[in-house]
């Protein structure tokens, strides 16, 4: 762990960051989603190299793929991303061991190094939340913005249609 400044402000921020590591889920409020797709855009930024919106969309060699997707049948729109299930079917289906459930955080993790792109998990996920990366023939999925200080889809939704709930 990085050493941190121990002034009260920093400690407070650190503790809040710590909260992100707790068990919890992102819940969705479909009625207030306006279909602006900012969650998709910021998810792309979150998974880009530079974490900079201009660079992520215009200058990075390969544009990162969003892991949240907005379902749309107007006037209905709502976002969906990995539900980090308690007993994930994708983990049970993964033939390479690339998918795993972190017992500490409850997060369902995907190890791109191990993934062979068999798409067994695409068939197993009841929510359709494992996305295909055609270029690399692998999959991508929501990682709850691990190693970032906020969950980008949650913090950038202008209508708070995505909320993180500790459990």
């Amino acid at each position: 762990m990085q050493s941190i400044c121990t002034c009260f402000t920093c400690l407070f921020i650190f503790l809040q960051m710590g909260e992100k590591e707790e068990m919890g889920r992102i819940l969705i409020k479909p009625e207030v989603c306006i279909g602006c797709r900012l969650c998709e855009i910021w998810c792309t930024v979150a998974h880009s190299k530079t974490k900079n919106i201009i660079k992520a969309f215009l200058y990075e060699e390969v544009r990162a793929l969003p892991r949240v997707q907005v379902e749309e049948k107007l006037p209905l729109t709502f976002p969906m991303q990995c539900r980090h299930c308690e007993e994930p079917d994708c983990v049970a289906a993964c033939i390479s061991g690339a998918l795993s459930k972190d017992p500490g955080t409850g997060r369902v993790d995907h190890d791109a190094e191990k993934c062979v792109g068999c798409f067994s998990c695409v068939l197993a996920c009841p929510y359709g939340c494992i996305n295909i990366n055609e270029n690399e023939r692998k999959v991508v999925k929501c990682d709850l913005c691990r190693e970032l200080d906020t969950m980008y889809c949650v913090s950038h939704c202008p209508n708070e249609a995505l909320v993180f709930v500790n459990e």
Partner: protein
């Protein structure tokens, strides 16, 4: 004698599922694992990826190197279980050692079928099933020029693709009149055959090997149609049968595979089984049958483990399901696949675009419940369809929507959608 709370025979998907299932309930019970193979747990489903060079042998490891240690599992690797005394609750190993068990799991898997063709056991003839096979094939692949693959099922076709990509001339022999015959329908089989032929693989249906020629090594094979073709590498991929030798001449009920109930219990008390060695409930057909697939092995094992550790859980979501890819063709299927409408019992909704190699097909029963589907070309979000099958949703009200390439929850009627997603949504906020 060594005594353990849990003894597991086998070291693959089912065994790992069981260990993880036990440990989700019981952190302290003692676990022993017996495996005939000497390796750390590996995924045999990665053999094609190993041979293509996509992953090395270390990449085939299904769990990290410290997995057993962290799970507190005592290993008996390179040991074969040769007998079980159900009365004394002990497993006898080939070195004479005996392991006493509180609960026992049989996860002995399947064994590749070898057809009774005289002289087939030669040095350049391999199954496509174990690391040993894979290493042997790798060694022979280097100098091979003409490979013959016996069997046009999933395994045979995966082998054929790998070999072709190593610049070996490949001929696939399939006894049925089409490849992937029990798995998909005729239309899908033809699309797959075309993909292989376009890539340069010779696919011969209604055909098989009648005789092999050569002393230590196969040099030529004579086909059923009378032709003789050169062959310096022969892969046998005609299927697996449940490995039930430990059940023979015992009171364990066997019907093709070891028969288990929904809690993964066999007919003998305190003995459970999972994976390729069993006959298990298929929720689509309602029958007990072998379902030799990775997810069924892992999940069946996991649920067995939970039950062995004293909690009650049932495995009722298993069926036939495959995610496959051959060259640039992606194919996903699940359940049963009728070829045409069947009287009043079921009907078919489908769309086919041969140019773009896109096919979507759904078999719907008289109650409107999805019994099976095939997706070719467009496989994204396939799991939503499997979920509709498992939840027995009547799809007739939106059956044409199923044909949309990005079919999703938005395409479902409100009531069904919010019912299926209720744990994840906050409704009624406006």
């Amino acid at each position: 004698m060594n005594e353990f709370d849990y003894v597991i025979i086998g070291n693959s998907a089912g065994a790992i599922g069981c260990i993880e299932g036990i440990r989700s309930v019981d952190n302290t019970g003692t676990i022993a694992l017996v495996s005939e193979e000497a390796h750390h747990v590996y995924s045999r489903a990665l053999i094609p990826y190993f041979l293509s060079g996509a992953t090395g042998t270390s990449g085939m490891a299904f769990r990290p190197p410290d997995f057993y240690e962290r799970a507190g599992v005592r290993l008996f690797l390179n040991k074969k279980a040769v007998k079980i005394n159900f009365g004394d609750k002990e497993v006898v190993l080939d070195d004479g050692n005996k392991l006493g068990y509180g609960k026992l799991l049989l996860a002995t898997g399947g064994k590749p079928v070898f057809p009774p063709i005289p002289g087939l056991r030669k040095k350049n003839v391999f199954s496509f099933h174990s690391i040993k096979d894979a290493l042997g094939i790798k060694q022979h692949m280097a100098g091979a020029r003409n490979a013959v693959v016996l069997g046009g099922g999933v395994i045979g076709l995966m082998a054929a693709e790998v070999l072709l990509k190593k610049n070996i001339k490949v001929c696939v022999l399939e006894l049925a009149d089409r490849v992937l015959a029990p798995v998909v329908d005729v239309t899908a089989s033809r699309m797959v055959e075309e993909t292989f032929r376009e890539a340069g693989v010779e696919v011969l249906t209604n055909n098989t090997v009648a005789a092999v020629h050569g002393k230590e090594y196969v040099e030529k094979v004579t086909l059923q149609d009378g032709r003789t073709i050169p062959c310096d590498l022969l892969i046998v991929g005609i299927g697996v049968t449940p490995r039930v030798e430990l059940a023979e001449e015992t009171e364990l009920e066997v019907d093709r595979g070891i028969v288990v109930n929904e809690q993964m219990q066999t007919s003998v008390s305190d003995v459970y089984a999972c994976g390729d060695c069993i006959s298990v409930y298929n929720f689509v057909t309602g029958l007990k049958q072998p379902l030799p697939l990775w997810p069924n092995a892992y999940l069946g094992g996991r649920i067995a483990g939970v039950n062995m550790a004293g909690k009650t859980r049932e495995y009722t979501t298993g069926t036939s399901m495959n995610a496959m890819h051959f060259f640039d063709l992606n194919l996903i299927n699940a359940g049963v696949n009728a070829t045409a409408d069947g009287d009043a019992d079921w009907h078919v909704v489908s769309k086919l675009d041969p140019e773009k190699k896109i096919y979507r097909k759904f078999t719907i029963d008289r109650d409107g419940v999805l019994r099976g589907f095939i997706l070719i070309g467009q496989v994204a979000r396939a799991g939503i369809l499997l979920n509709l099958m498992r939840k027995k949703i009547d799809v007739r009200g939106f059956q044409q929507e199923l044909l949309r390439d990005n079919f999703g929850y938005a395409d479902l009627p409100d009531l069904i959608r919010w019912h299926l997603l209720k744990e994840h949504m906050i409704l009624g906020v406006v």
